[in-house]
């Protein structure tokens, strides 16, 4: 294994190893001090940044377009194999750098932000797991491996949304986000299967597997479903404001920087296939445009800073989707990097910015006067009122999802429950044990 390959393996695996060791020791009863955790985090990401810097420098010096590490197959069954290939090329390197730098910064920020918080260790464990998942997504040399990282990003995202576990709302919102993620991930799983079936491989380390028109369209549409879910594009945008229930540092790194852009990365990765199918490209542009418009309108009616920033992110990711659909790959990558950096700063600054704003109000003895120059003022008043109502309900997307998918599914589930109760003396749903109330129920009623 050459230096370049070793560096790539180290960058990807270090956060995962730290997560594994710390969580295993915790399971056995060790609870590390806050300072220990933050130092380990700082050291890990500093080392990763150094290794990645060296990797980029050596690549630039030698003029090599990419570095790949092949570990063979994770498992092989018959003709099917799961290739373990890491790849750092001109597309993945900026994303790897973004992940390492921002994760390290967020780690340092969180050491103070979450000081003496109950879930301090849990946050850092999840941060490491998230970084590992993200690095796996961006360094994967095959879609099979990408799926692994993709799922890890999803689960850590959900667990961090439910970070403040004593409150019901974050927990329920986490569940909702999890459901959307899982539903959309079906597209990724089936898309990868389709690549295996039609192209014979899902690895792109040795060149992207090309498919004829119709098959390329099917794969693109399936991957677009997954990308739209992860990037909260219309019609899956409803989960993004719910995700703001998590701690601010996690909101910054997930929904301002890395997770929200994973969908765009996936589309950039399948750009050769997208370029083959103008239908898929048009759909990407359409979804991106719809999301950008949706994000900007709904964001204007948001009452809290984090939600406003989240919709700002959504707008930008919508624009990035348009760029990808138009084939403007370099612009899209630059846009992602710039947006991630600015948005992370905005998220991290949001709590203190509000504080500063209040101080400014006090200093001037009143409120700062509004500018009054908003683009929506160009519309007739009736349209403005309609748009305002539409924006307040966040485009009715959650309502549509509730009424169109969740409620019918739950009704069906209850019908099945009644069917299952046939032949029993009392319905399953109503059957309770004869024992008195438990401490749990007594506690709940207090």
């Amino acid at each position: 294994m050459s230096f370049l390959q070793g560096a790539l393996v180290f960058v990807v695996s270090a956060p995962g190893a730290v997560f594994g060791v710390l969580s295993f020791l915790w399971l056995l009863g060790w609870v590390p001090a806050e300072r220990t955790v933050s130092r380990i985090t700082g050291l890990t990401f500093s080392a990763c940044a150094a290794a990645l810097g060296a990797l980029i420098w050596r690549l630039a010096a030698t003029g090599a377009p990419s570095v790949a590490v092949t570990f063979g197959n994770w498992f092989t069954v018959g003709d099917y194999h799961f290739p373990l290939v890491l790849l750092a090329d001109r597309l993945s390197l900026p994303f790897l750098a973004m992940t390492v730098v921002l994760s390290g910064l967020i780690g340092q920020f969180s050491a103070t932000y979450l000081h003496r918080e109950d879930g301090f260790l849990r946050f850092f464990l999840l941060l490491h797991l998230f970084a590992f998942g993200s690095l796996l997504v961006f360094a994967a040399g095959s879609f099979d491996l990408l799926v692994g990282g993709w799922e890890m990003v999803g689960i850590t995202s959900v667990l961090l949304i439910a970070f403040f576990q004593r409150r019901t709302a974050p927990v329920e919102n986490g569940l909702r986000v999890f459901a959307v993620y899982r539903a959309c991930d079906i597209g990724l799983l089936v898309g990868v299967f389709a690549m295996h079936r039609w192209a014979g491989t899902a690895s792109f380390a040795g060149g992207f597997p090309m498919l004829p028109g119709g098959q390329a369209l099917v794969v693109c549409l399936l991957l677009l479903l997954a990308a739209s879910g992860k990037a909260a594009q219309v019609p899956f945008s409803g989960w993004l404001p719910r995700a703001m229930e998590g701690p601010t540092p996690s909101s910054a790194i997930f929904y301002g920087a890395i997770s929200i852009h994973a969908g765009a990365y996936l589309l950039l990765r399948v750009q050769p296939l997208l370029a083959q199918s103008w239908t898929a490209s048009a759909l990407v542009i359409l979804i991106g445009a719809a999301t950008a418009i949706y994000g900007t309108i709904v964001g204007r009616a948001s009452a809290d800073a984090k939600t406003l920033l989240a919709f700002g992110s959504l707008t930008q990711v919508g624009v990035i989707f348009i760029e990808i659909g138009l084939g403007l790959r370099a612009i899209a990558v630059a846009h992602i990097l710039g947006h991630a950096a600015v948005r992370t700063l905005q998220f991290l600054r949001a709590p203190s910015m509000l504080h500063d704003y209040h101080q400014m109000h006090s200093a001037i003895g009143g409120e700062l006067s509004p500018t009054g120059k908003h683009i929506e003022n160009l519309f007739p008043e009736q349209v403005q009122a309609w748009l305002y109502r539409w924006a307040l309900d966040r485009g009715h997307l959650d309502t549509i999802l509730d009424r169109g998918v969740i409620e019918p599914l739950m009704r069906l589930s209850r019908v099945f429950a009644r069917l299952d109760s046939l032949g029993l003396a009392e319905p399953v749903a109503q059957r309770r044990r004869a024992t008195p109330k438990t401490p749990a129920e007594l506690g709940a009623s207090r």
Partner: protein
């Protein structure tokens, strides 16, 4: 061969002996159960080393599950009768894995379920579990009777699976009865309801052991496919469709369920129905995926039921997923174990089920492109249900009704850690579980033009 016979004899007869001893000498049940299960595990391990067959591997797996159950079993449940019942089930289940004779299989099939048919032993509160188990036994018995009637003369070879291989004894009626036996035992639609009833109304850990025997899948792999290659090729997809239908039906059903045991049973049933779909897929991926999934589902389900029982013992038996109980504050390690086992059941990356799901999805989509789509959909819904159960049980506001409750005790913690390590290390190094011989065995025999029996039989090496 003699060594194999001795080792398998030790593996299933020692639990019976200890069960018998416990019936009369009712002291130290946990120690006796542990000793019997450990002996069984040791004999099965030696058998794996000796013969390296899948039946031996399944014996080892089930022995390990029982050993873990002995350690996790709360003091309240660790009565001599309960331990004897678990050992009784262990012995007969291992015999079912090992035997090559239909009559012995029938005996093992019936007797492994016997404790669950007796109300004062492991019987459930409703009639359906008993009915399901009895109907499955009746179907299997009738099928064997028809085979005997169809034979010109009844001898030991009449019931030998080796002798009957590929002969379709009894034709379609016997095939249908065997499929009915699988349907009832495995809880395939429309005979699925007894599984949840058994889990809710019976003792949690012994019922989990009964369900994790997967004798229905065993009958498919060991008997139906090798004996009925022609019929299997033509009619077997129907069972696969039913299995996938069950997976989706039960996954939808679990979305509105609030009783934790019932919910867990439904999710486990949905996930284990995928095993049948994989076995029927006639692809190397599907077959291997089904076998690996078998292992994952048993370990994860056992862990989940064990943790749930530990919670019930600590926090009351009426736990509900209707409200948030906030138990993670009292039992953070149990929460983590539950999360890992739960997510391992539904394909979390880094666990063994990620590989099994990957293989199953590829296998079923290859053989049934449309119905195969149901598999990832069912898994997605199961993941939501498991996460909902986790969040309702463990997250939320700390309850004031609980005082100082213990998190996982050392014996519980160690055995649960071993389970977690198994699914995680198995996920990191799946080839160690899939096995080069198993994968290659399936691959070599995989030929879509051939009869499914050849591929399956060589792969399973029963």
């Amino acid at each position: 061969m003699d060594a194999e016979l001795v080792l398998s004899g030790v593996a299933f007869s020692i639990p019976w002996c200890f069960a018998l001893v416990l019936t009369f000498y009712r002291r130290n049940p946990r120690a006796a159960g542990f000793l019997a299960a450990a002996t069984s595990v040791l004999a099965s391990a030696l058998l794996v080393w000796e013969s390296a067959s899948l039946s031996a591997a399944l014996m080892l797996l089930f022995g390990c599950l029982t050993l873990a159950a002995m350690l996790v079993l709360p003091k309240r449940d660790c009565a001599p009768g309960a331990v004897a019942g678990i050992l009784f089930t262990l012995g007969w289940t291992l015999l079912a894995y090992w035997t090559e004779n239909l009559l012995v299989l029938l005996a093992a099939w019936v007797l492994s379920a016997l404790p669950f048919l007796i109300a004062r032993w492991f019987g459930a509160r409703t009639w359906r579990p008993g009915a399901g188990l009895l109907l499955s036994s009746f179907s299997l018995a009738l099928a064997i009777v028809l085979i005997a009637i169809g034979a010109h003369s009844v001898s030991a070879r009449t019931f030998s699976m080796d002798a009957l291989r590929g002969k379709s004894p009894g034709g379609i009626p016997v095939f249908a009865l065997l499929v009915a036996a699988v349907t009832f035992r495995k809880g395939i639609l429309p005979a699925h309801a007894w599984i949840a009833d058994a889990a809710e109304g019976g003792p949690a850990i012994p019922t989990a052991l009964l369900l994790n025997g997967h004798l229905g899948a065993l009958l498919v792999a060991k008997t139906i496919v090798p004996l009925f290659p022609q019929t299997s090729g033509n009619l077997f997809p129907v069972l696969s469709y039913l299995a996938m239908g069950t997976a989706v039906y039960v996954a939808i059903r679990s979305l509105s369920e609030n009783a934790p045991r019932r919910l867990l049973a439904l999710v486990a049933l949905s996930q284990s129905a995928c095993i049948l779909a994989g076995l029927e897929s006639r692809t190397a991926e599907g077959l291997t995926g089904a076998l690996v999934h078998w292992i994952v589902v048993t370990v994860s389900t056992m862990g989940l039921f064990g943790i749930l029982r530990l919670l019930e013992v600590r926090f009351g038996e009426n736990l509900s997923a209707r409200t948030h109980l906030g138990l993670a504050e009292h039992a953070p390690r149990l929460a983590v174990f539950f999360a890992v086992f739960g997510l391992a059941l539904v394909g979390l990356p880094g666990t063994l089920s990620f590989c099994s799901q990957d293989l199953l999805i590829h296998g079923t989509l290859m053989s049934h492109p449309l119905t195969g789509l149901l598999l990832p959909i069912a898994t997605a819904m199961n993941a939501v249900s498991i996460f909902r159960l986790f969040s309702r049980l463990f997250l939320g506001k700390r309850r004031t009704g609980f005082t100082a409750m213990a998190d996982a005790l050392p014996r519980e913690r160690w055995i649960l850690t071993a389970g977690v390590l198994f699914v995680v290390i198995g996920g990191l190094f799946p080839d160690a579980i899939i096995g080069p011989s198993l994968g290659a065995g399936v691959a070599e025999q995989r030929d879509r033009g051939r009869m499914v029996a050849h591929a399956l039989h060589s792969a399973l090496r029963f």
